[in-house]
Symmetry: C2
Subunit: 281 residues, 2 copies
């Protein structure tokens, strides 16, 4: 259980302070933070809360949404620079980047993807300067149109390739990549590019808001152990975050959710009982 | 417009005879048939109806659902043999195969995919004997768990590779493959493996039944012309089927749907105005 991290999106109705306390009560040593919840108390206070509790910050969610042109572009880049600063201030292992979908009114996927490359090129020097690692997260292809034109781990690795791996890595979230016939090849190729490993399950039916269809580990269709083993074999030694968006799970008491997270992680994911999480640099 | 084919699923509330008449009224020269609608009149009568109307049969939908083990397996293979016979009797260009999702109670994607390979191996000799071409259709990854473990065109091409291309090809449906960062590489590789080209649009939000979220060409996010051009460049000269599952479109009068199909095809897909469809062998 030493590698388990709770992403605070999983206990959505808890404040940051409540989630920190919940982690401590449950003996969970790391937390994944969200910028909006950090902003509620301010970065300095958020940092104080997690340090005082002895928690490691395994990720900051998130930057990205690069697929804007015109006036929106400068604004998007400025917001990402602020996210990099927050990531540095919180000593988070990685800033998770979700690329954005097709630009408004456009059907040109190639162009959208070029905007992602361009934005990375602009942000990498600043991330490097601040010692922040960027993590490109491929999202499930069903989010390609409106949320993320980076749809496979292979594509994320291609986007990361021009940069040093300590500055640009990739985020592996089982929900988004489990279906990929090339997943294990991509993971073998990924090596030290893996900057974050997140888990939750694919369940059906998808809800009206398809963002919220994720299940507790073990509730659905994903076979976690082979994926966890391949992530491990690639050399990843960081935390494993449980990140779940689901109205049903959100409406449960936080401590019950955390208990379930611990139990399902032990049952379905944690095959490295003896290894200790080694935070990414 | 000579390459346009109407898949009868698009005018779901029409019988086969009504869809045949609708094609004739609209000057559409080909039709994609569904086995359940053919069964309503019988294969011989269905064949008579389409021949009398001078229609070409661009596909028969569908076989597949191979991911069953135990007792279900023999039954699935027997049903696919009947589908091959029907395809031969109807002189359809291709029998579309949808592989099936994870076997009941299983999370083992690798095993599910091996069942698809095994079933193809058993069916290919019979298809060859009857002169039927099988078309492996990758479905969008959001259908991986429950409907189709073949999720990319590259994977479909790998499955087809051991067999002669005139016996095993692949089906390219824009709805399922448009998001793929490797789509154009897969299409270039596909060459004469392309056995069917189907079009409909990706629209949002997905409906409760995510099978029914498809839109008229031009209603959504897909850029059709580059895909159509790449399919053409690969050497495909068959019909282009419009196949749409959508309650809203189904509830419109059939002739209105057919008119819309013609118009949107001309506006968004048909960039080979001078070339005539050459049915696959």
């Amino acid at each position: 259980m030493r590698r388990l991290s709770l992403n605070q999106a999983t206990t959505k109705h808890w404040t940051l302070a409540e989630t920190v306390d919940g982690c401590v009560r449950a003996g969970i040593g790391a937390i994944g933070l969200w910028r909006d919840r950090v902003a509620e108390v301010g970065v300095a206070e958020a940092d104080r809360l997690v340090r005082r509790a002895g928690l490691h910050v395994s990720s900051l969610c998130r930057g990205g949404f690069f697929t804007v042109d015109g006036d929106g572009r400068a604004e998007a880049l400025a917001d990402n620079r602020r996210a990099i600063e927050e990531c540095a201030a919180l000593s988070a292992d990685v800033l998770v980047l979700v690329s954005g979908g097709l630009p408004a009114g456009s059907r040109d996927l190639g162009y959208a993807r070029s905007l992602v490359r361009d934005a990375l090129d602009e942000l990498v020097p600043y991330a490097r300067e601040l010692g922040v690692r960027l993590g490109i997260e491929p999202l499930h292809p069903m989010f390609c149109a409106d949320r993320c034109v980076v749809s496979t781990l292979g594509q994320a690795l291609d986007l990361a390739a021009p940069y040093p791996s300590e500055v640009v890595g990739v985020v592996v979230d089982t929900y988004h990549v489990w279906w990929d016939p090339d997943l294990f090849a991509h993971l073998a190729r990924a090596g030290d590019r893996i900057a974050s490993f997140q888990v939750c399950d694919w369940i059906l039916p998808l809800p009206r808001d398809m963002l919220l269809g994720r299940g507790h580990v073990g509730e659905g269709y994903i076979d976690f152990r082979p994926i966890a083993a391949a992530v491990d074999a690639a050399g990843y030694r960081g935390y494993v975050e449980v990140e779940i968006f689901n109205e049903r799970i959100w409406s449960a008491p936080g401590d019950e959710t955390v208990r379930r997270v611990r139990e399902s992680f032990a049952e379905h994911v944690d095959n490295q009982g003896t290894s200790t999480a080694r935070p990414a640099t």
